[in-house]
């Protein structure tokens, strides 16, 4: 009972804080906080999506940034064509670019999900360290693909002229954009929350704990895991679409393997196998980066050992600590 009360308190406090953040930042005369917070929300979406496969499905992917980056590139490339006025594809049915978020964001989600389906279909034939390595290999393939894609800037990346148009909202305004990110995160977390507690979610947790038994019970585990992998890819694609708007810039760096590593770090730091954990992890990592950067340009010197300490001492992460001793997060 006490645990659920604490959990509820966390939700309320966290929610209120997030909802009131722009006016508070205005009062504190720190407007840049709003854009940092947007960034945190976006990475939180990506981290939650990774936790779906990592924490709930026990699939250790070291290539999740591929879907993040792919989503960003979809938005970037469509916007590029819209502004240059060059059709994306000519031929019998010419396809033009677009700056409309209602088109390009869903498209980013779909492309990332499809990509995850293909990569997952191949990767899920392996397990253990081979799964880690093959997801890494596919992500590297995509990294080098975009890195050598000269038409869209190659390794220099692609600058957007402006943020997307979203149903008359001015996304160029940082506060508006912040609320869009917040809404996206809330929606995605609601979906995930329903998902992990549904029959499908139980199947995924069952596969994580004992795939052999799942098969013996009659579950085609491969298909369920693949679908979960694709859903996670879709979430990362959404985050990618948002980050492209936030920075108005896409580059292969979004797909680099160290980015996948950072997403893993967020999930573990915050608390794996929970939905709030990855959000806290994203906040801690990005805030920590920012705060430490004030005192030292070598913040990684402290982050590295901290990470090792977290791994060696506890797997429950920040969320576990907030919930108190003796509960395992979930």
């Amino acid at each position: 009972m006490k645990l659920s009360a604490r959990k509820r308190l966390l939700w309320y406090v966290g929610g209120a804080l997030l909802a009131l953040l722009p006016p508070l930042a205005g009062l504190a005369d720190e407007p840049f906080m709003v854009s940092l917070a947007s960034r945190i929300l976006i990475y939180a979406i990506a981290a939650v999506s990774l936790d779906l496969i990592l924490g709930f499905g026990a699939m250790v992917s070291l290539g999740h940034a591929a879907f993040f980056g792919a989503g960003a590139y979809v938005v970037g490339i469509l916007a590029f064509h819209a502004f240059e006025g060059v059709p994306l594809a000519s031929g019998p049915i010419p396809v033009s670019g677009t700056n409309n978020a209602l088109v390009s964001w869903p498209l980013a989600v779909i492309v990332s999900a499809l990509l995850a389906t293909v990569i997952g279909a191949l990767s899920l034939r392996t397990s253990g360290i081979h799964f880690i390595m093959i997801t890494l290999a596919f992500a590297q393939m995509l990294f080098y693909f975009f890195d050598s894609l000269e038409a869209y800037g190659g390794d220099d990346g692609l600058s957007l002229w402006s943020r997307n148009d979203l149903a008359g909202l001015d996304l160029g305004d940082d506060t508006t954009f912040y609320y869009v990110c917040l809404g996206s995160l809330a929606m995605f977390m609601l979906i995930c929350q329903r998902l992990v507690n549904s029959r499908f979610g139980m199947v995924i947790r069952g596969c994580a704990q004992n795939e052999r038994r799942m098969r013996a019970l009659g579950f085609p585990t491969y298909r369920y895991k693949l679908l979960c992998f694709a859903i996670a890819g879709a979430g990362a694609g959404l985050a990618g679409a948002l980050i492209a708007n936030q920075t108005e810039y896409v580059s292969p760096g979004l797909l680099h393997w160290t980015r996948s590593g950072e997403l893993l770090v967020m999930v573990i730091l915050g608390g794996m196998g929970t939905l709030i954990g990855p959000v806290l992890g994203a906040a801690v990592l990005l805030l920590g980066e920012d705060l430490l950067a004030i005192f030292t340009e070598h913040w990684q010197l402290y982050l590295g050992p901290l990470l090792i300490l977290v791994v060696l001492t506890t797997r429950r992460g920040v969320y576990g600590l907030l919930l108190g001793r003796g509960n395992d997060g979930g």
Binding site: N197, S198, R199, F200, R205, G206, Q209, R215, A216, L217
Partner: protein, 250 residues
């Protein structure tokens, strides 16, 4: 005549390197019977179960279940056809509660699990059969306990309950009472006996008292081969069996 056999395996061969675990093994199980498979440690009983359940593919030979060739069918397809199994070493979802374990085990029978929105723990379609299973295997008091925290005997009962959850036509039971106390062992035997006629069973068991009291047919395996098969009385008195197995065991 052939239709009489629910399970019909023909000339199974399986080796692990130099170890021959199944050799020209043929085994017929009649619909409705309890068919015991006995044999000394390492005889290859678990390997037979694994081949029947589809976890191992035989090197050669065929397996028919309910008139259907299932020799190369995947594990989950066989399970969906009504061929359920238990594991010699309990194979549970240790992080989930007893009810959750059972709720998962019930799901395949209710169709696909691509249901993403409704909470599974408030799903009456799962709750009712779970409650029934809890009751039947006397696990009710442990419903909220994590499987990983259960005592050995309770684990064995949960293992059996999960196999029953799918309402199988046939059960492959790999030493369901191994290591449980005599009392709980008797309970399980009584339960199996009560299922006789409804569910066909292939029962691997070392406890000879149980075997000879509830089995309709007994097959004896030694070093991958089936050396005798028939009604308990005939097998008990078979000189070859006495020599190879019962004599040294008793």
């Amino acid at each position: 005549m052939v239709a009489d056999w629910l399970l019909d395996t023909c000339a199974l061969n399986k080796s692990f390197g130099a170890v021959v675990a199944s050799e020209a093994l043929s085994l017929q199980v009649r619909r409705g019977e309890i068919h015991a498979l006995i044999g000394p440690n390492g005889a290859g009983k678990t390997t037979v179960i694994n081949q029947l359940a589809g976890e191992l593919l035989p090197d050669s030979g065929s397996i028919h279940f309910d008139g259907r060739d299932i020799t190369s069918l995947s594990v989950h397809r066989r399970a969906r056809l009504g061929l359920a199994r238990t594991f010699q070493i309990s194979t549970l979802f240790d992080g989930l509660t007893v009810s959750e374990n059972l709720a998962l085990a019930v799901q395949p029978r209710l169709g696909h699990s691509y249901r993403f929105w409704r909470r599974a723990d408030r799903d009456a379609a799962l709750g009712a059969p779970v409650a029934e299973l809890l009751d039947r295997l006397d696990l009710g008091a442990l419903a909220g306990t994590r499987a990983g925290a259960l005592a050995h005997g309770d684990r064995r009962r949960l293992e059996l309950a999960m196999a029953l959850a799918g309402r199988p036509t046939m059960l492959l039971l790999d030493e369901p009472m191994a290591g449980t106390g005599p009392e709980s062992s008797r309970d399980v035997a009584r339960l199996l006996d009560s299922l006789k006629g409804h569910i066909t069973m292939l029962l691997v068991e070392h406890d000879m008292d149980v075997v000879f009291s509830i089995a309709d047919t007994v097959s004896v395996m030694v070093s991958g081969r089936c050396i005798a098969s028939g009604p308990p009385e005939a097998v008990r008195t078979d000189p070859q069996v006495r020599r190879a197995y019962l004599g040294e065991d008793d």
